[in-house]
Amino acid sequence: MQKYSVFSLIKNAFSNHEKWDLAWKDPTPKKEYDVVIIGGGGHGLATAYYLAKEHQITNVAVIEKGWIGGGNIGRNTTIIRSNFMYDDNARFNEFGMNLWRNMSQELNFNVMFSPRGIINLAHSDAQMNAYARRGNSMRLNGIDAVLLNREEVKKIIPMADFSEDVRYPIFGGLAQPSAGTARHDAVAWGYARQADSMGVDIIQNCEVTGFDIEAGKITGLRTSRGDIKSKKIGLCVAGSTNVLAEKLNMTLPIETHLLQACVSEPVKPVLDGVVTFGAGHFYISQSDKGEMVMGGDLDGYNSYAQKGNLPTIQHVLTGGVALFPFLSRLKMLRTWGGIMDMSMDGSPIIDKTHIDGLYLNCGWCYGGFKSVPSSGWTFAHTIAQDRVHELNEGFSLNRFSKGYLLDEKGLGTKTWIS
């Protein structure tokens, strides 16, 4: 594999950048693999990478229906954080934060990880108390949490509406200074390129049409590009989880919903970190290009459309303008949507299933991007060792029937309003 550096950049400039090696191959599927990962998104590619790197399993295929980087890994708003209250979520995501910090060096691909901080705004004394509790829980798990009062928030986001007669006056907020953003496409490409260099086959334009199961064991799968045998298959298909579950005769605690995001025209730097305005169903950051990157609610009804409807965008931006009045002067550049695997408690599932050799990775709700490295790392462990790692033992599939929910916000099972 060609190493990327400033020298390779200069060298290739002399040949008009026409002689770069392909970043990954375009192989024809083999008849059999040790492990097949379905889904060439962030989680699937990271799983393949860690299978090869940590477990020396390189006879691996990543099967992708579309093209890699075309799903939620290229549609999210790139926020990376570990500001969770519950131990299982906090430890898992803080483990991921450490992988994020070294990712550009490890993958030899600039993922532009930028720890610029996140603030969750609070609008009442009760919410400040709740944030103090969450911040203390985070600190007990070694995560940096800072409770900010109104004046401290004002120093960071002076352009927000700090008047006292608004519907949700700003009382303060909970910050995680080490949180940040990264370039999402680069994460997919970086993992894909390294996995490919270690022998993983990345097979695009290949749709899974069925599974072969014999005596409770998975033996292979059928695809639009032929049958493939494998004793271990991992599902990393986010919003398509329910579609594949149907082919497996499984019913999961997952609903599929559409989440939209939008960006404004680019402007000069105005917002340093990420700000979430939960009361207004709105969050925002500014990209390196200067666009204001914004999102908020789900469209509110089960959807596989990958494109949203206007009322939700209007609702989200109404909240946005209430917090940052200057947004009303900006033009929106584009909006888009992705389909989310909304779990019934808001936390993910990384587990084995009742079918031997079939592994499940789903339920990422709004926050799959930040978990790409930790999910890939733990899912690779779960597949390679055929047992869950302590970091993902809380993300079990049977926690719903057993009653051990990881309901970080305690919002119940109406996934479309959580």
Binding site: E246, L252, E255, N302, N309
Partner: protein, 88 residues
């Protein structure tokens, strides 16, 4: 934006309605022993199909009645709407 025909009021904008989720789920009968599996099915497990989906909607800014909608989850085409007591 969806245009939903409330079976009581007629065609209205999506903005008047609230979503109520999968309309095929039935609560286990009261005053009976309920197995963990039946309760799990009722509370957590959902098919969430790609394609035709029967779902509950609430005409919250109108007549406030609940009713069912058969809608395609990919195209958002609404095939029909009906009162809860009408069978599909």
């Amino acid at each position: 934006m969806l245009n939903i025909k409330c079976p009581y009021c007629g065609d209205r904008s999506q903005k008047e309605f609230a979503y109520g989720g999968d309309g095929t789920i039935t609560r286990p009968k009261l005053n009976q022993e309920i197995s963990d599996e039946a309760w799990d099915n009722f509370v957590y497990l959902r098919k969430s199909p790609r394609g035709k989906h029967i779902e509950l909607w609430h005409h919250i800014a109108g007549c406030r009645q609940w009713f069912k909608v058969e809608r395609d989850t990919t195209t958002h085409e609404i095939f029909r709407t009906f009162k809860p007591e009408e069978e599909f």
